[in-house]
Symmetry: C2
Subunit: 122 residues, 2 copies
């Protein structure tokens, strides 16, 4: 039998920023939580995978290539469609839920300091 995961409690166990943690799987997608602080995510895309961002705490700056950046606040949900270049940052710590296909690479085809493999997200 599965266990109940309490999201606020699970967030407390995450110490590093930009380090997604897989907390569940629903068929072909992973459910992840992550803490963001600052500007370390490069512009990237996931060729075949949509990516859902749901704000649990704080505010996130979302930038879609060739569009003005916009702010997402607690309770907001936004889906970046596959192939769309995007990056996220935050002025203060922001807590997110991410939903994306298991095949999605953390920072797309771009590999930077913060890039984590799926193994590192477990």
């Amino acid at each position: 039998m599965n266990i109940i995961i309490n999201i606020p409690v699970a967030l407390k166990s995450i110490r590093n920023h930009f380090s997604p943690k897989i907390i569940g799987e629903v068929n072909d997608v992973y459910i992840k939580i992550v803490k963001i602080l600052g500007e370390k995510v490069p512009l990237h895309n996931h060729v075949n995978e949509d990516e859902l961002f749901y704000i649990l705490e704080g505010a996130l700056e979302m930038e879609i290539e060739n569009n003005p950046p916009f702010q997402m606040n607690k309770g907001d949900l936004y889906i970046v469609k596959r192939g769309v270049n995007h990056k996220v940052s935050s002025h203060n710590e922001c807590h997110l839920m991410l939903i994306e296909n298991k095949t999605a690479l953390h920072t797309g085809e771009v590999s930077v300091e913060i890039t984590k493999s799926i193994k590192e997200q477990k």
Copy 2:
């Protein structure tokens, strides 16, 4: 370009209980929100689809066949694996996020008064 969905605002537009509303899609899964009040969901399963329950407001009674029922509270997340008989109910109004494959039927192979087609969930 997609639009931001604010979940608390989206919940205000839902008037009927047991009537899931699709608010987004991530590859092969739908993201839904739903309000539950009372005991109208029959014991059912989804043969090929896992189903994620995330409590946004209130408390949910979760019953997995042959196991003691348990309560889920705000911030709790639980995944019912494919093929597992389950039902949910609540004493007071409970708001949920559901994540499940697009092929999942609302109440599995069981059709009852509250059963909604995918078309009715859009």
